[in-house]
Amino acid sequence: MPASASRLDPDRLLTGGLRLCAAFSAALLILVVIFLLLQAGPVLDAIGPWRLFADDGWFPADTAAAGQFSIVALLAGSGAVAFGATVLAAPLAIASAVFCRFVAPPRIGQLFRRMLEVLAGVPSVVFGFWGLVVLVPLINRWQPPGASVLAGALVLGLMILPTIALLADSALRSVPRATLSAAAALGLSRWRTALQVALPAARGGVVTGIILGVARAIGETMAVLMVCGNVVQVPASVFEPVRTLTANIALEMAYAYGDHRSALFLTGLVLTLLVIALVLVAELGRGANARRTAHG
């Protein structure tokens, strides 16, 4: 009777090798967190997580004892810019998606989607550069200094818009045609169909898109580094410059030593946890939505 598996069965080797690679890919996330923790260890030991919020400000030094490590202003900077970007981008993005699916003639809708896809691929450094040479001087003429929360929100808004619009668009596309024809059969007008049937049905995808947009805005470095002015402060208005967590790392890594560098890794860890939380929330939303459509 033919029995299986000699020792050097190529299929077993293959299966083992593939599994090993997959396990490594999965472990990469843990590796990232571990290395951040290792590097952040010294300063975390010295100051504990609490002083990240209780210190008088961000005045890092080579030794933990001599420095102040409050990230409150940096968090405020990241939050303000990301919030502004989302407020600007989300409505435009959703309207763009509705435009593609319900309003535009098919050819134009297709062209517009292509444009969004190209826009999604434009590097952040180019967005930042454009913001720096075009937007910042414009704002400066109106409300100096120009490099500000507003500039950051505008540039980031344009950057995350394609992400949200394309996800909303594909969520709208996956609304069952039967649902739409049912609405049409009831004599609902196009705008009622779009706003009261299709968008609610696609809600999960749209919300996921917005959350991923926020995650991208918080994690973005180059554009905000170039247009936000990089002053460590809690902004009092949208015209004031701020520094984000990401920009801070990019600016200070170049010369940081000792506990200062360690503190930068700690802020990287905070950033990662923040974004992981957002991605998981988005995933949960997507899962709930999938279940809803499966039952509905």
């Binding site: 009777m1 033919p2 029995a3 299986s4």
Partner: protein, 272 residues
């Protein structure tokens, strides 16, 4: 109305019970909690054509797939009972399914050539079986293409993508691909149902030509076809919640005088 067609092979089949190529005992196939078919004790005589007929959903495909353990590939599928081939139970966990499938080939309902060239479709299985010599492979490919009547049609374009062939040609290529490994048993799941009538006739003729060289188990929906080609017949039915085997035996005998009322009704076309 009773059939007046003369049974083709009944004389041979009735006189001496032939040796069995496959014998199942109390075979059942489950998909998760659903029982597709149960209590099947099927007998497949050697070197003959066994036709499995029955209404759709009664588990014909499930039984056929279990015979060479392709059910292993379906998530959630469980097969219980016994399948004896050469006295060994192929459901025994240590039985090597790869070796089994090289002896028990299968042709599917929908032609499924690899998205590769015609020649490569036949070359790959041979290589995989360890036929190193290129000339030998070429020879076997030509022989098997002649056997399925495809050689004259494709000899000039063996490098053409197989998926550009017509449906009937694709199905004959799939039969050739199964035959090139020289299996003992060939399983065919409604091999003509995706084809137009002419292509279907060609494939049917081909199946008849395999008689005597191979043990063929063919599932078919087409009663006329079963009547034309089968030596041995197995009739499946759905009783209650699961499929079952209601009657089997020499084809002529069953077509002439079915023992079960259900079979009689089915063969007369009085139901379904």
């Amino acid at each position: 109305m009773k059939s007046t067609v003369t049974p083709i092979r009944s004389v041979v089949a009735e006189s001496a019970p032939p040796a069995l190529a496959i014998q199942t005992k109390d075979l059942a196939v489950h998909y998760g909690a659903l029982c597709a078919v149960r209590g099947v004790s099927l007998q497949v005589p050697q070197q003959q054509i066994t036709a499995i007929i029955g209404p759709s959903g009664c588990g014909k495909t499930s039984v056929l797939s279990s015979l060479n353990r392709l059910t292993d590939l379906i998530p959630g599928a469980r097969v219980s009972g016994q399948i004896l081939i050469d006295g060994a139970d192929v459901l025994w966990p240590a039985y090597d399914p790869v070796a089994l499938r090289r002896r028990v080939g299968k042709v599917f309902q929908k032609p499924n050539p690899f998205p590769l060239s015609i020649a490569r479709n036949l070359d790959l299985p041979l290589r995989d079986q360890g036929v190193r010599n290129a000339d030998e492979r070429a020879g076997r490919i030509e022989a098997v293409l002649r056997r399925v009547g495809l050689w004259d049609e494709v000899a000039q374009r063996l490098d053409m993508p197989a998926q550009q062939l017509s449906g009937g040609q694709q199905q004959r290529l799939c039969i050739a691909r199964a035959l090139v490994l020289e299996p003992d048993i060939l399983l065919m799941d409604e091999p003509c149902s995706a084809l137009d009538p002419i292509a279907s006739g060609v494939v049917e003729g081909l199946i008849e030509e395999l008689r005597g060289d191979y043990t063929v188990v063919v599932v078919t929906h087409n009663l006329q076809q079963a009547r034309r080609i089968a030596d041995h017949l197995a009739v499946f039915w759905t009783s209650g919640d699961a499929g079952c085997l209601v009657e089997q035996g020499p084809a002529g005998a069953i077509f002439d005088s079915p023992k079960q009322a259900i079979t009689a009704a089915y063969l007369d076309g009085r139901c379904c």
